[in-house]
């Protein structure tokens, strides 16, 4: 509470003086600075990259601790923060040399420093999330639990829905589909005091959903696990629990699919009913039963069925009348 008041004041002050654009702000960065930053980062890639790990810059260095890292210029450069100098987030004083100073670990600049306004808006949602409510979990849950600041690319730049799904679901599945990572965050089990709660299998939890794997590839967890959202607005950061999560298939599987305002919200303005399909922007990536229909084809088939029914009924009626006529003559 106090913290967020302090933030408000900071935002107002910084905003008022237009100072949020200093090195710590999230204003666009000019090309010359980007070049400089990328050059500076090469010093880090000497060790922090697959090539560096394979061939350390100094003999006798053990870089095996870095082997799980996904850092690479082709991964970092296109990411949201790829224009920046690593040391804008990883303190300039502690990472210029190796071995890095121990203090570096605790001096990483938090998201708030540069994105105060966004954090201010998101924090109440974040605090209402399932993850912020469970003791033992909330202490460890931060913005970068889901957002890898070296890799993530914002939806409107990523564009391809398949890539957006892959990125956003990776954030959730990294934990919910890996017992190892889950155990690092999981609270104590109610029935097993002193022991971590076991990870429920993600496909078993959702066994009411047919072909879960097809769904994980084409929609995001947050499609169902966040509250209703207004058109063109970003989804909430409030992750809903199992009581409140969306279970109705028709939310997506109908002509008025919410996917339009969720996964496809950045594309929906380009909706042109391509080839005559409704929701054809969704069709660019997924055929969604009930949502991606062809009204003309539907009408033709309904018409044919109607005509056929009428045809046999008329034929039958004429047969009955004719038979009555023949009986009358006999």
């Amino acid at each position: 509470m106090l913290a967020s008041w302090r933030q408000t004041i900071v935002v107002l002050l910084l905003g008022g003086w237009g100072l949020s654009a200093f090195a710590g702000g999230d204003a666009p960065i000019d090309t010359a600075t980007i070049e400089l930053n990328r050059k500076a980062n090469e010093a880090c890639y000497a060790c922090h990259s697959a090539a560096g790990i394979a061939k350390p810059p100094k003999a006798g260095l053990d870089l095996s601790k870095l082997k799980d890292s996904r850092l690479e210029p082709p991964v970092f450069n296109p990411s949201d923060h790829g224009v920046m100098d690593c040391r804008e987030c990883h303190s300039k004083t502690h990472y210029n040399d190796y071995p890095h100073a121990e203090a570096g670990k605790t001096s990483t600049v938090g998201c708030t420093e540069c994105h105060a306004a966004k954090v201010l808006r998101l924090e109440p949602q974040f605090n209402a999330s399932v993850h912020a409510k469970v003791k033992g979990v909330k202490e460890k849950f931060t913005c970068f639990t889901c957002h890898d600041p070296h890799i993530n690319i914002v939806q409107k730049r990523l564009k391809d829905p398949a890539k957006i799904v892959a990125q956003d679901n990776h954030g959730c599945l990294e934990c919910h589909n890996s017992s190892e990572t889950f155990a690092k965050f999981a609270p104590e089990g109610e029935k097993t005091p002193g022991q971590k709660k076991a990870r429920p299998d993600i496909d078993t939890i959702h066994d009411w959903l047919p072909n879960t794997r097809a769904h994980w590839k084409s929609v995001r967890c947050i499609e169902c696990h966040t509250p209703e959202v207004a058109e063109a607005k970003m989804l909430s950061h409030e992750i809903l629990n199992k009581e409140k999560a969306e279970k109705k298939c028709l939310t997506c599987h109908s002509a008025n699919s919410t996917l339009k305002v969720r996964l496809y919200r950045h594309m929906v303005k380009d909706e042109q009913q391509k080839y005559g399909f409704t929701n054809s922007v969704i069709l660019s990536n997924s055929y969604v039963i009930g949502a991606t229909r062809h009204p003309l084809l539907d009408n033709i088939l309904i018409g044919l069925a109607g005509l056929t029914l009428l045809g046999v009924l008329a034929h039958g009626a004429v047969r009955i009348i004719a038979a009555m006529g023949r009986k009358g003559k006999e």
Binding site: P210, S254, I289, G316, R319, R326
Partner: protein
């Protein structure tokens, strides 16, 4: 009592009614899936999906049995329209449906143990059972295992052609079924052909 011949062995009758029930189930659930809308009183979506998948797999199995049994028993021969004069015989049959039937003229084709379908029936059954059905079943199977669908096509999802093929062939089978049921009333009496399908005996 009119003349009777024993026309249809038990396996054909069992197959026929199972097939009919499954297709009706698949039609109702398929319509519920395709036209899913909160305002329409259809089968609830997840129930429809589950029933459609079970029914679909059952129909695939039944079709496989049907094909094998047809080969083993030689019944497949019934579906082959036999030349010469196939078209002429079709025309005779069609003319009867369009005119003769109203005047109470006798059926132009006399059913026998050797050939129990008239030419028009043989052709339409052949088209439905050996051309449309397999496409419908295969597209249904790909729908069930979407990894087999092409990834993309013309900038759209690769499942789209599969879905359209499935939808259109499914609709063709439903249209066929409407006509098929109605033509079932054109036997010696309105109900005699249905009785044949139940007890196997045909009345001339």
């Amino acid at each position: 009592m009119s003349e009777r011949i024993y026309l249809l062995p038990l396996w054909i009758r069992l197959w026929h009614w199972t097939n009919a029930l499954l297709i009706i189930l698949l039609m109702i659930t398929g319509i519920s899936l395709h036209f899913a809308d909160p305002k329409l009183p259809l089968v609830e979506f997840s129930l429809a999906a589950r029933l459609h998948q079970i029914g679909g797999l059952a129909l695939v199995a039944l079709y496989a049995l049907f094909v094998v049994a047809n080969i083993v028993s030689g019944n497949w021969w019934q579906y082959v329209p036999k030349p010469p004069g196939v078209l002429a015989r079709c025309w005779v049959q069609a003319k009867w449906y369009m005119g003769g039937i109203f005047r109470g003229e006798p059926h132009p084709y006399r059913v026998s143990e050797e050939a129990n379908f008239n030419a028009l029936q043989a052709i339409s059954y052949w088209v439905i059972m050996y051309m449309i059905m397999p496409v419908m079943l295969l597209s249904g199977l790909v729908f069930l295992f979407p990894d087999f669908a092409p990834d993309r096509l013309f900038g759209l999802d690769g499942l789209l052609p599969v879905a359209i093929l499935h939808y259109v062939t499914g609709a063709a089978i439903v249209l066929f079924m409407i006509i098929h049921v109605y033509l079932g009333t054109t036997g010696a009496t309105v109900t005699s052909m249905f009785k044949t399908m139940i007890n196997g005996w045909h009345e001339h």
